[in-house]
């Protein structure tokens, strides 16, 4: 069996190399896809070598960024992290990452170049400096697609699962989000005592998934300044999961997230163990948060809002030990505040000390396409992936917080990874942009749908340009942006890949799989 596994690995790795060599992509999923096909038990076999276990992060929005944040915290604590590439978040992507780790370890062992006993903290440091030969080193941090999570977790039992939010997204592929919530609930009930569930208390679809499992860490936002008034149009989980009565909200943050309660049956947001209290959001690239832990991480949060929030903790090592943690992150927007808080909760649950959490998060920059900054022809492009109503709404809020007239490039594709159904753009609140726009260019496979959305949303068609061809659209959008100015691009997922490919062609940036 070992020989069969080795041969399968060689074939799979060759497929990845071929993919890169022929310019078809970074080979971040293909090797795992081939290996899973040749050896169905590969994920469990390779994952079994992770002495520190595997952590899965799933959500509609924020998987990639949160995985980066958590990986950075663990590395700052000297742990060796294996992570999948951004977006390679099906079983194939997880297997690919584990395969790359395995092959690097074997290569180093064969060359008899014993690595140092100290962690380098380098992202590329896949092989374990602790002891590459024993197979006990390393922890896996994997972002996992919402629908792929249950089968991946069945194949390789996780040490922790971080569930952050569920919003309407790709209805054609996932079905309605209640279906995913139901599958996640089944998964939560099936997890063994060795797994910690890290859940968002602010999402009523998730907060009570952990009623049964042994260890639950809840996180949430508790800064009343962050409220946004009423629920947005695209709010999803608006009814009580217990009795079906419409939920009431004392605080609405992102989409349907917030401080929710059911006035009929009394179900309400549980008090989080890890909570972001005082927050300052400063543009697209910076935020500071004060994160408080209650010290009580073992059971579901108390429903009693008046109970003491400063538990005593155990030895003061984890961030959940009753002391406030001041966090500075190089990320913008309230949605990223959730990502940071989730990463802090997960890191604390994995025993990372507060200093390492603080240092790890401070060093993280935006993932590709998440407010990524690219220079082109004397302008600055900001790439803001917008693939569903809630994500698009948060990006629009961030853009609106920037000063001056706005130049926009909106790109709508409808390929499999985007969702084939473009209906969702009608759930996005684009309208607040109209008063701030100096130029708008619309592009992508479904550019005419965008044109209708903007036109029926109240923007005079004379104020926007439609370009079916993406390079032409980019030219037009750049020309319409004043030199030295900022062009905000809001692409869907494959539109982001197309746009970045065009930027790579123009020498403005590098391929995404080359980034750390």
């Amino acid at each position: 069996m070992r020989c069969v596994g080795r041969l399968a690995e060689m074939i799979a790795a060759s497929a990845g190399a071929l993919s890169r060599a022929t310019g078809r992509g970074g080979g971040t999923s293909l090797p795992g896809m081939v290996l899973n096909r040749l050896e169905p038990g590969a994920l469990a076999r390779l994952g079994g070598g992770l002495g520190g276990g595997a952590v899965y992060i799933s959500a509609t929005n924020g998987k990639t960024t949160t995985a980066r944040l958590l990986s950075a915290c663990l590395r700052a604590d000297g742990r060796i992290v294996t992570a999948n590439a951004a977006g390679a978040n099906l079983a194939s992507g997880v297997t690919s990452a584990l395969l790359a780790r395995e092959r690097t370890r074997r290569y180093r062992r064969n060359r008899r170049t014993r690595p140092s006993r100290h962690a380098t903290g380098e992202p590329g440091d896949l092989a374990g400096p602790t002891d590459p030969g024993s197979g006990c080193g390393g922890i896996g941090v994997f972002e996992v697609d919402e629908a792929a999570l249950p089968p991946v977790a069945r194949a390789l039992q996780p040490r922790a699962v971080v569930l952050m939010n569920l919003f309407r997204d790709q209805l054609d592929r996932y079905g309605e989000l209640e279906t995913i919530a139901e599958r996640w609930s089944e998964l939560a009930r099936s997890l063994g005592p060795a797994t910690t569930l890290v859940l968002n208390a602010d999402d009523p679809a998730l907060a009570h998934l952990g009623a049964d499992p042994p260890r639950v860490v809840l996180f949430g936002i508790d800064d009343p300044e962050m409220g946004r008034g009423d629920l947005p149009h695209a709010a999803d989980t608006v009814r009580c999961g217990n009795c079906g009565h419409p939920l009431s909200h004392d605080l609405v943050t992102v989409g349907h997230l917030g401080h929710w309660r059911c006035d009929s049956c009394g179900l309400r947001r549980p008090r989080p163990h890890i909570s972001a209290r005082r927050m300052h959001l400063d543009g697209l690239d910076r935020m500071t948060l004060t994160i408080a832990g209650t010290g009580d991480e073992t059971g579901p949060g108390s429903d009693d809002e008046t109970s003491s929030g400063d538990g005593t903790g155990s030895g003061g090592r984890s961030a959940g030990a009753g002391t406030d943690l001041e966090i500075t992150a190089g990320l913008g927007g309230l949605h990223n505040a959730y990502n940071v808080t989730a990463a802090v909760a997960a890191a604390a649950a994995l025993g990372v000390p507060p200093e390492a959490i603080r240092d790890g998060i401070a060093g993280v920059q935006a993932a590709f396409g998440r407010a990524e900054q690219v220079s082109l022809d004397g302008r600055t492009l900001r790439l803001l992936l917008a693939k569903n109503p809630t994500g698009a709404n948060e990006n629009i809020r961030c853009v609106l917080a920037e000063p001056g007239p706005l130049s926009l490039l909106v790109v709508l594709n409808d390929r499999t990874a985007d969702g084939r159904d473009p209906s969702w753009i009608w759930d996005v609140d684009y309208e607040p942009l109209w008063d701030r726009i100096s130029s708008v260019t619309l592009a992508g496979d479904r550019c005419w749908e965008l044109a209708l959305r903007f036109s029926y949303g109240g923007l005079d068609p004379a104020r926007f340009e439609v370009r079916e061809n993406l390079p032409e659209a980019l030219d037009h959008a750049v020309a319409a942006t004043p030199p030295g100015g900022v062009l905000f691009a809001l692409p869907t997922y494959t539109a982001l890949l197309d746009l970045r490919a065009e930027l790579v062609r123009r020498g403005a940036t590098h391929d995404f799989w080359q980034e750390s």
């Binding site: 149009h233 009814r239 159904d421 209906s423 753009i425 009608w426």
Partner: protein, 252 residues
């Protein structure tokens, strides 16, 4: 004197909005205003009765399964009889996706439970083993021209809908699945009530259907025929043509 206006009763906008129903409402209002006419919008949530002052057009969109069950119960308890009377009296209705199923006699869920609908459309729906998903193009005889006109959209439904003996389809499927994936029908029409699985949303890319429905609603209110002047529909036609071309030449 104020401009002629259509009184629209938008049912369950909070619960039934998952497939961009907001876009259909926006189109109805905008196409009236571009002609100097007006839209008076009433939202009908759980427990609420027919708005005072009358209704010319009813809209019911699609929702998630659980929300749809809540809505079905509320419809039966508070609105179904009034809706039947309204539509029998000549008001127009547009029922989309889950709303289409609720406009019929009944819907049988995957669990075998039968949920009663409003019964203004002569259809019955049963949950199928899988979802019928994708771009869809119809030819419909309802259009203003002598030739059947095309309707374009997106469909995503587990329900298999069968037309009753006397029922008329909205159109014949050119590309896609339609009512049930086996016979070539899509949607249903009864008087001035239209039901369909087409979303995307439906009306922005099919402006002739929006105008047909608005004409019916105005006729109901004012008791005379309204000849709605043509609008400059450059973007609408471009999106419509692109959708037809995609169905003819699917990619990827």
């Amino acid at each position: 004197m104020s401009a002629p206006a259509v009184r629209l009763w938008h049912l369950y906008p909070r619960e039934m909005n998952i497939y961009a129903d907001r876009g259909n409402i926006a189109v109805l209002g905008a196409r009236l205003r571009r002609r100097g006419l007006d839209l008076v919008l009433h939202e009908g949530g759980p427990g609420e009765d027919v708005p005072d002052g009358g209704v010319d057009l009813v809209y019911l969109g699609g929702g998630q399964d659980r929300d749809q069950l809540h809505v079905a119960a509320d419809l039966a308890a508070t609105k179904a009889a009034d809706l039947r009377a309204l539509l029998r009296g000549g008001a127009a209705g547009l029922f989309v996706c889950g709303g289409y199923q609720l406009g019929g006699h009944s819907y049988r869920t995957a669990g075998g439970e039968t949920v009663a609908g409003i019964g203004v459309l002569d259809i019955e729906t049963t949950a199928g083993p899988d979802r019928l998903i994708g771009d869809i193009v119809l030819r419909s005889d309802l259009g203003p021209g002598d030739e059947p006109d095309r309707l374009v959209g997106y469909e995503n439904h587990a329900g298999r809908t069968r037309l009753g003996d006397g029922a008329k389809a909205l159109g014949r499927v050119v590309k896609g699945h339609g009512n049930n994936g086996t016979d070539p029908t899509e949607g249903a029409v009864a008087g001035r009530a239209i039901g369909t699985y087409l979303h995307g949303p439906l009306l922005p890319k099919n402006p002739w259907l929006a105008d047909l429905i608005l004409g019916w609603a105005l006729e109901h209110r004012y008791g005379r025929r309204f000849d709605l002047e043509p609008l400059e529909d450059r973007l609408e036609q471009a999106a419509h043509r692109a959708a037809v071309a995609r169905a003819d030449h699917p990619r990827r």
